[in-house]
Every structure is written in C-alpha cells, then in structure tokens.
Symmetry: C6
Subunit: 76 residues, 6 copies
C-alpha cells in the first residue's frame, strides 16, 4: 500500500491504542480486498450478523494485544 | 468514539479485569456496529446459540490475556 | 456479576490452573447469557457436537495460557 | 475431574511437550463432555472432516505455546 | 519451498512489519496449496466474502504479533 | 507417535522456522487422524477451499509464534 498509515504502534492512551487495533484489523481486510466499493457493499451483511461482529471483535482483540504490549500496557 | 471509555487497563482485582475484558469485547463489536438498536435486535439470536456464546467467550479470553498481562496477573 | 468468583489467578497445581481456565471459559459464556436455564437447554446440542467441543477446548486453551503465565508455569 | 492427570507442564523434550499439548486439548473437550461413549461416537465425524482436523490442530498449537513457554522452549 | 523468501523478521518500520505479516499469512496458504492457478481461481470467492476477509485479517493479526515482538515493537 | 520428529524448536533461519511451524501444524492433524490414506482423500476438498486454506494458515501462524519465540526471533 502506497500511503503511510502505520508510522508507529505507540499511542498516548489505551483508548487510542484500541482504536489503532481497529485500524490494524480493517487494514488486514483492505490488504486482501483493496476495492472500497466491494467493502462498502459487504457492510450491510456483516454489520447485521452477530457471528461476523464477534469475529471482527476477535481480530481487534488480537491486534489490541500487540498494541498494548508495544505500549507496555500504558503503565507509564 | 467520542466518549472516554478506556482510561486505563489497570484494575484492582482479577474479576474487575475479567469484566474489563468483557467491555473490550463488546466495544470491539460496537466500533464495527455502533447502532445499539441493531445490536439489541441481534441479541435473541446469539444469546441462544451455543456457537455464538463460545465465540464470545473466545474474544473475552483473548482480551483477558491482555488485561491480565497489563496487571502483572495481580501478583501484588 | 454480584458474586465474587475470581479472587485470584494463582493456583497450587497446573491441574487446578486448568480447572480455573475451565471456569473462566464458562464465565465468558455466563456474562453474555446469564440465564442458567437457557444454558442448560443448549447443553445437549453442544455436548454432542464435535465442532462445538473443539471450540470450547480452544477457549480453555486460551484461558489456560493466561493462568499458566500468572503462575509462572508452576516452575516452583 | 478426580484423577490427577496434570502434575506438571515440564517435559524432557519438545516432542513430549507437543504430546502434552495434545493431552491438554483432549482434556479441554473431556471437561465439557465427560461421557467417553459420546466422544467415541463423534470420532468418525471429526476424524474425516478437514475443518474439524484443522480446528483440533489450532487448539494443539495454542496449548503447545503454553507448554513450550513453560519449558523455556527446551533451550537447555 | 525452494526460494528464499524469509531471510529475516526485522523490518525498518511497523508498516513494513505489517506487510511482512501479510506475506507470512499468504505463504501459510501457499505451503498448503502451491498451485497459483487454484489460488487465483479462489480469489473472487473469498475477496467478496466478509467472513473470509475477517478470517484473513485474523491470520495477519497473529503474524503481526510475531513480527512486532521480533522488532521489539519498533520502540527504537 | 513412535518416530522422533521433533528433536528441537531451534532452526538456523526464520524460513526453516516457518517450515517447522508447517510441520507442527500437520502433526497436530496427524495425531488426531493418523491414517495417511484418509488425509490424502481429504486433500482435494481443503486444498480448493479458501476457508480451509485460511484456517490452515491460522494454525501455522500460531505455531510460528512459538517457534519464533523459541529462536529469539533469529535476532542473532
């Protein structure tokens, strides 16, 4: 991907870290399916499917583990 | 998300840590589907589906790993 | 949840640690579906479904990772 | 479970560690479905189902992570 | 596989690390199905399937954990 | 299993480590279904199924985490 979207894993707060984990999870999809239109078309399906929403939360949880470790759990 | 919901990963007890993992898991869903009404409508489906309940517990287990590590396993 | 069910992650033996991981996995379900009657009704389905049993073992394996790390792998 | 089946996570070799991970994975099933007859009846289904075999290998991989860390990766 | 495709886990930036995780995830498929034609034929199916795209992002998240740890989270 | 197939987790390079992770993943299947003929019969199914190929890559990613940690990420 041409754009620089991941300069660092360091964030100021846990919440920003969680939102970076959301970004990482979405990029994991985007690298596989770069066509934004296709992704937009798929949204109504997964956004109303509990299994899909739970699977998405699982990816976020895995990426949040990485970001939290990178930030030493924001233990200051 | 506008509200500040994740100020810290540090909790007083393992049980509070587990409940934070529940929060993280639900937020992972909410960031994907912010419409509370949709989530409410989906509840009867997943709350009576053993595969969905197990998948939810898997997300909690992953987030609990993160919270437990953040709290050095509450080893005092 | 009102009751105090998770005072500590520390256990005397690996087997007790594995049994704590079972408890954590079941609580991950219970926080999502607190109605014991519903869970009881679902049991015949998942207890005779190999995919469900494997998925349950996956949750236990993830929670056991956390408990084992908390106990420094019972290396004494 | 009454029997003592998990006295320690320490094994002499990585292969014994992998076999302990197999045991942990099967116990994760057995704690959920203790009836050996039911498990025996389910075997033809999952033993000939590639998705089930891969899911089983995923549980073993997760438990092997735990056992390997417990043994400091048998780095002597 | 004959070609040398993984000389190191070290990358200059987190984004390069994420792209290495993408490579690891695709190689995990390629070692199981080396026939590029088959993989090409499968693309329309998974690239338009939200569950498949989420599962792919889950593999990337797991591999990114490994690459990030290898690079000490690019904490410089 | 009688044969000694896992003497060590240490490999010379990351690529050899990835290939060991492939071996661990396949052994995780083989310990559950030792009949090579059955596994051979299943191959056409999973080798042409994107969900199965992604699930296989997920197992490899988990095992590669273990092997990479064992080798201190080949940081020399």
């Amino acid at each position: 991907m041409a754009d620089t979207w991941l300069p660092s894993l360091i964030t100021a707060t846990p919440q920003e870290g969680f939102e970076l984990a959301i970004t990482l999870s979405r990029r994991g999809v985007k690298y596989t399916q770069p066509d934004a239109e296709v992704l937009h078309k798929l949204r109504p399906e997964y956004a109303n499917d509990h299994a899909a929403l739970t699977a998405a939360s699982q990816v976020v949880a895995t990426n949040f583990q990485t970001v939290a470790a990178a930030n030493n759990y924001w233990r200051g």
